[in-house]
Amino acid sequence: MSVLNKDLRQRIVDIIINSKEGHIPSAFSVVDIINYLYEKKIKLPKKNNWNKRDYFFLSKGHGCAALYVVLNKFKILSDKDLNSYGNFGSKLGGHPDMTKIFGVEASTGSLGHGLPTAVGVALGLKIKNNNNKVYCLIGDGECHEGSIWEAANLASNLHLNNLICFLDWNKSAQKLLKIENLKKKWEAFGWKSSIADGHSEKSLDKCFIKNKETTDRPRIIICKNIKGKGVSFIEDNPVWHHKIPNNEEYKIIKKELTL
């Protein structure tokens, strides 16, 4: 099976190994979506016109290594910043801090906060008649949080068609507490929903075409993802959730990501 963005995955592993902190499988699960958004969807004006940007909220903050490497790719974060990840005095830690990192919209980490904040931004933009889009990436485990469903209900009631949510459906949460029929659940909350392969640009493209903007509803793209996607022994292996590879494992990871 082909793996996109091996270079970004390699950077994720490098910074996490260097600092001995981070969630590699979660970052691997979402990195393709984040890269896709910054490459194809998110408008990023110059800093002096920054309020014209599209907004991206990484609600599942523990996947932030993926966001950092993408922000670095698009020159929002410097190499120096990226390489300082997790160090004392660094802007970058195991969860993102919006007061430190230009380009990060919310200091997420505690789950269930990013989406309702994105709802507030989307509402504010509509009141001000701004056409900017608001993208938000949440996890399926995050859907255990009640505040996600509060936000889902609010967004549809407020007709926030400028809000597009991505759900990282890697089914790791399923192992803890079943949360099934996510598509139906989101539709029941008034969202337009569709399912994509979150590791495939083609599938995400198709989904955007199929799941067009409505006049009155927020949209969600439920992404069938694989936690740890890209490295065989990390994929869908719960042991790796917050594990740091040793030297031997690092060699294998590097080999798999350079094939």
Partner: protein, 306 residues
């Protein structure tokens, strides 16, 4: 007739909202009727978002990010205690500004029981260095103080009492961050917080009739704390009693102690809430249970100054 603080809140946001297009009001199923004029005068900036307080607090952070001055309004335990993590992360950690306007602090909803009581809000909000804590005891105080700080990029917490103190204070004396010396005296410094000024003045009058004069300091702004006013009084009187409608654990008394701990030979006493108030009844009846009533205050003062 005494104007209710909640009505003043509605009037203030309406007056300001007409001029400031960035003032936006979110409520959680409360005060709909009195906010109708705001909704009419400021179309698209009034949202009754039902009963999902946590997400509403997050939403306010989002609105702040795009340039609004959000005003959140609901009952104190649901706004502060239920949503504490949202407040901590969205506005404390992210350093965003918001106006949180509660009603039903302490046991203003006295007959509704513990679920609707809230006395830990001062201790909780006091954890944030970027927070202003305002406990106005009259409509005029709210009017002046809200207008003066709603735009500040801080967590502005306004706690509206249902039991105004009914003491006339000149508008020129009401200034953000400043306490007020209401009565001069030399037998005791009595600090009254918010609505408790009512009992403090009644106690003053009682002891004044016996030629004993207590100094009454009034605080509507608890954070930032006007320490100088307190220190000069305590240095002189060497006896301090604080009466507040907050939990004794981390209440305003703790701040007063810290502010005066270097002054030697001071006698300290406080009246606040010891633990859960699991009774129903009127506000006054619950006051007599907790010791926040006039009789208890007089007894406490008598013990100190006899």
């Amino acid at each position: 007739m005494i104007k209710k603080l909640r009505q003043q809140f509605a009037d203030s946001v309406t007056d300001i909202g007409k001029k400031d297009k960035n003032l936006i009001v979110l409520v959680s199923d409360i005060s709909h009727e009195i906010l109708k004029p705001f909704a009419k005068a400021c179309p698209g900036r009034y949202y009754n978002l039902g009963i999902c307080e946590q997400a509403i607090v997050n939403m306010a952070a989002g609105l702040k990010k795009v340039g609004f001055y959000p005003v959140l309004h609901t009952i104190a335990p649901f706004l502060i205690e239920r949503c504490y993590e949202q407040i901590k992360l969205d506005f404390g950690y992210q350093n965003l500004g918001v106006n949180l306007v509660s009603v039903g602090g302490t046991y203003d909803y006295s007959k509704l029981g513990c679920s609707h009581h809230c006395y830990s809000d001062f201790a909780l909000m006091n954890q944030f260095s970027n927070c202003n804590i305002i406990v106005p005891g009259s409509a005029l105080e709210f009017k002046i103080l809200f207008k003066s700080i709603y735009k500040k990029n801080k967590i502005n917490y306004f706690r509206l009492t249902e039991n105004p103190h009914q003491v006339l204070i000149k508008s020129t004396d009401i200034r953000f961050g400043r306490g007020i010396k209401i009565k001069k005296g030399n037998s005791l410094t009595l600090v009254a917080v918010g609505s408790k000024l009512k009992e403090a003045i009644q106690a003053y009058n009682y002891f004044a009739s016996k030629k004993k004069y207590i100094e009454v300091l009034y605080y509507h702004t608890l954070k930032p704390f006007d320490k100088d006013l307190l220190r000069s009084s305590v240095k002189k009187n060497k006896r301090l009693l604080v009466i507040e409608e907050f939990s004794k654990k981390g209440g305003f008394f703790s701040e007063c102690l810290n502010a005066t701990k270097d002054i030697k030979n001071v006698f300290y006493e406080n009246i606040g809430i010891d633990s859960f108030v699991q009774d129903y009844g009127t506000y006054d009846q619950l006051n007599s249970r907790t010791g926040l009533d006039l009789d208890s205050l007089k007894k406490k003062i008598f013990k100190i100054i006899k």
